[in-house]
C-alpha cells in the first residue's frame, strides 16, 4: 500500500510512535532487571539505577553460580523440561494423528473423552490423592506424568493435520504400500515441522516455568526445580522488607539480596527469552492452521 495523502502519513507516524512507546514500556522491566543485576547493590538501594547499570559488576552472578542449590535446581529443571517435553510431544502426536484420520472408527468417542477433560476435572485434591496412591510422591515422575498431554495442544495439532495436510497424500502413500504408521512418520510429520516446533515450545515453556507440581509433590530438596528455589528466595527477600519494617536492619544481607534477586531472575529467564524468537515466525501460522474448526 502506498502512502498517498498527508493524512495517511500523519496517521502512520502516530501508529509508529504508539508502537515504539508500547515496546519501550514492555521492555523496561526487563532492561531494569538486567541493569540491576549488573550494578553495585548500593546503587539499587539508593535508586541510582534507573535504566542502565551503575558501577558494573558481575559479583551477583558469581554468587548465583557459586550456589550449589541453584546449580542443582538448574540441572533438575533442564532434566525435567527436556524429558517432560519429549514425552509430551510423542504422546500428543500419538493422540492427534490417529484422531485426524477421517475414517478411523471410534475416533469421535476418544476425542470426546479427551475434550471433556478440558471442561471438567477432578480438581486439585483428587489429583493429589491419585498421585499419592500411584506411589509417585517425591518422584520426578509426579512432575512429568500428570500433565503428559495437554488437550488444547492435542486439538491444535489434530486440526493442523486435518486442515493443512491434503488427504490425497495419505491415500497415495497407502496405494504405494506405505503403512499408516510409516505414512505418519515419513510423510506427514516432516510436513508439520512448524506446528510441531510451536507445540514443543509450548510444552517446554510450561515445564521450565512451573512450580506448582513440584511444590505439591516434591519434598526432597535435591529434586527441587529452579522455580521452587526461586520462590523460596523471593519469600526470603520479602522477609527482608518486612524485617526492615519491623526495625530490624541487617544492611549486609539486604545489600547482597538486592542485586542477587535480579541476577537469579536473569539466569532463570534467559534461556526461554533466547529460544522463542527462533520459533516466533511459526506462531501465527500454526495457530491459524490449528484453530480452524475441523
Amino acid at each position: 500500500m502506498k502512502l498517498k495523502t498527508r493524512g495517511d502519513r500523519t496517521y502512520q507516524v502516530v501508529i509508529n510512535s504508539l508502537a515504539v512507546l508500547i515496546g519501550l514500556i514492555t521492555l523496561y522491566p526487563l532492561i531494569y532487571t538486567l541493569s540491576a543485576s549488573l550494578s553495585q547493590p548500593i546503587h539499587i538501594l539508593s535508586g541510582n539505577v534507573v535504566l542502565w547499570p551503575v558501577e558494573m559488576t558481575l559479583n551477583s552472578y558469581r554468587r548465583v553460580f557459586a550456589s550449589a542449590d541453584i546449580l542443582n535446581g538448574y540441572r533438575n529443571t533442564i532434566i525435567y523440561s527436556f524429558s517432560g517435553t519429549l514425552l509430551n510431544v510423542i504422546l500428543t502426536i500419538m493422540a492427534a494423528y490417529p484422531l485426524s484420520l477421517p475414517d478411523l472408527k471410534g475416533k469421535n468417542f476418544v476425542t470426546f473423552l479427551i475434550t471433556f477433560t478440558m471442561f471438567f476435572s477432578g480438581g486439585m485434591i483428587p489429583s493429589f490423592i491419585n498421585v499419592k496412591n500411584l506411589g509417585l510422591m517425591n518422584s520426578p515422575l509426579a512432575i512429568i506424568l500428570p500433565g503428559a498431554i495437554n488437550a488444547t495442544n492435542m486439538l491444535l495439532l489434530r486440526n493442523y493435520f486435518i486442515n493443512s495436510v491434503p488427504g490425497d497424500l495419505r491415500e497415495a502413500a497407502s496405494i504405494d504400500g506405505c503403512s499408516p504408521f510409516a505414512t505418519m512418520t515419513q510423510i506427514i510429520l516432516p510436513l508439520s515441522k512448524s506446528i510441531l516446533a510451536v507445540i514443543t515450545l509450548y510444552y517446554f515453556v510450561g515445564h521450565w516455568n512451573s512450580y506448582f507440581e513440584a511444590m505439591m509433590y516434591i519434598r526432597n530438596k535435591d529434586l527441587y526445580p529452579l522455580q521452587v528455589l526461586l520462590r523460596q528466595i523471593l519469600l526470603l527477600s520479602q522477609m527482608g522488607d518486612m524485617s526492615e519494617q519491623m526495625g530490624v536492619d541487617d544492611m549486609n544481607t539486604m545489600l547482597i539480596y538486592a542485586s542477587l534477586k535480579y541476577a537469579i531472575i536473569v539466569v532463570s529467564a534467559v534461556p526461554l527469552l533466547i529460544i522463542y524468537p527462533m520459533v516466533q515466525r511459526f506462531f501465527e501460522k500454526g495457530i491459524m492452521m490449528g484453530s480452524i474448526k475441523g
Binding site: 532487571t33 539499587i44 504422546l91 484422531l99 485434591i125 489429583s127 516455568n209 522463542y276 506462531f283
Partner: protein, 306 residues
C-alpha cells in the same frame, strides 16, 4: 454382524493407529478419569485407610459447612471480583494491540513490536511476582523512587504488602505478561482478511476509521466472541499460581480466592474431603458459566464453542 465386519476392517487397516491410541487412553483414564471418580469424597468422610471408595457417605455436610461460614462468602466474592476485573481490563488489550500491529506498515517495526510484547509471556509467574516485589518495594524499589522523584507521592506506597493495591498489581502485571501473547490469535485472524475488501472500500471513499468499523472489526468478531466465552469460563477459576505467589498476610483479605483456599484446606490442613467439596463447587460453577455464556453468544452472535 455388519457392524462387527466394519470394525474388523478398520482394525485390519488401522491396527497401528489403535496401538498408538492405547497409551493415550490409558493416560487419560489413570490421570484424568480416576481423579474425576475421586470427586466423590466431596460427599464422604474421607479416610486414607478406607480409601476413596470405602469411606462413609456424609451427604452435603462439607458444602453446608462451606456456605455457612462467613469467610467462604468473602472468598467467593474475592474470586469473582478478581476474575471479573481481570476480564474487564485484560480482555480488550490484546485486541487493541492486534489492531495496532495490523496498521504498522514497516515489517521490521511490526516484527520488533511482536517480539517484544511476546517476551514477558516466557517469564515465569514466580519471576514476574519476584520482579514486582523487587521493583515495588517501598524502601528499595524503583517504582516508588520514580513516583517520589516525579512528585506524585511523598511517602512510598506499600504496593505489594497491602490489600488496597493487590488487585491493580495483579491485573497490571497480568497485562504485561500475557497482553502481547494473547494478541497472536487476533493478529492471525486479522491477517486472514482479504486485501480486496479494503481496496474496494477505498475506491468507495471509505476513510481509515470507516474501514476499521465496517471491515476490520466485524471480521474478527467471531474470534473475539470465542475468546470471550473461554475467558468467561475461567472467571471463577482464577489461576492458583500467581495469586498464591502474590499472597502475604497483609493482603489476605482480598487475595484469598477459592483455589488458594482449597490448597490450604487440603494440603496444609489435610482436610481432603472438605477441600474437594470446595473445588467441586468451583468447577461446577465454572462449567455452568461457560455453558451460559456459550448459549447467550449462540443466540446473540451465532458464534459458539459447541
Amino acid at each position: 454382524m455388519n457392524r462387527r465386519n466394519t470394525w474388523k476392517k478398520a482394525m485390519g487397516k488401522y491396527w497401528q493407529m489403535y496401538m498408538l491410541l492405547i497409551p493415550v487412553i490409558v493416560y487419560y483414564i489413570v490421570f484424568k478419569y480416576v481423579p474425576m471418580m475421586g470427586v466423590q469424597i466431596a460427599f464422604k468422610n474421607f479416610k486414607f485407610r478406607s480409601g476413596i471408595w470405602g469411606s462413609d457417605w456424609v451427604g452435603l455436610k462439607h458444602f453446608e459447612r462451606f456456605f455457612s461460614s462467613y469467610s467462604s462468602l468473602n472468598i467467593i466474592w474475592n474470586t469473582l471480583y478478581l476474575g471479573f476485573m481481570s476480564l474487564l481490563f485484560s480482555f480488550p488489550i490484546p485486541i487493541i494491540l492486534a489492531l495496532l500491529v495490523n496498521e504498522i506498515h514497516s515489517p521490521r517495526l511490526k516484527k520488533g513490536l511482536q517480539t517484544i510484547t511476546y517476551a514477558p509471556h516466557f517469564v515465569s509467574t514466580i519471576v514476574v511476582v519476584g520482579m514486582l516485589m523487587a521493583m515495588c518495594s517501598p524502601s528499595t524499589g524503583i517504582i516508588n523512587k520514580i513516583l517520589i522523584k516525579l512528585g506524585l507521592i511523598s511517602e512510598p506506597l506499600y504496593l505489594m504488602a497491602s490489600a488496597k493495591y493487590f488487585r491493580p498489581m495483579y491485573i497490571i502485571s497480568g497485562i504485561w505478561k500475557d497482553g502481547g501473547w494473547n494478541a497472536i490469535i487476533f493478529i492471525s485472524a486479522l491477517s486472514a482478511i482479504s486485501v480486496e475488501m479494503y481496496e474496494a472500500a477505498e475506491v468507495d471513499g471509505a476513510n481509515r476509521w470507516q474501514q476499521l468499523i465496517k471491515i476490520t472489526l466485524p471480521s474478527i468478531v467471531p474470534t473475539i466472541v470465542i475468546m470471550l466465552i473461554l475467558e468467561a469460563g475461567k472467571v471463577l477459576s482464577i489461576g492458583f499460581e500467581k495469586v498464591y505467589a502474590m499472597q502475604t498476610d497483609l493482603n489476605l483479605t482480598v487475595s484469598e480466592v477459592i483455589s488458594t483456599y482449597t490448597y490450604k484446606i487440603g494440603l496444609e490442613d489435610l482436610e481432603y474431603d472438605y477441600a474437594t467439596a470446595i473445588g467441586l463447587f468451583n468447577s461446577v460453577v465454572s462449567l455452568f458459566l461457560l455453558l451460559m455464556v456459550n448459549s447467550i453468544s449462540k443466540r446473540v452472535t451465532e458464534t459458539s464453542l459447541f
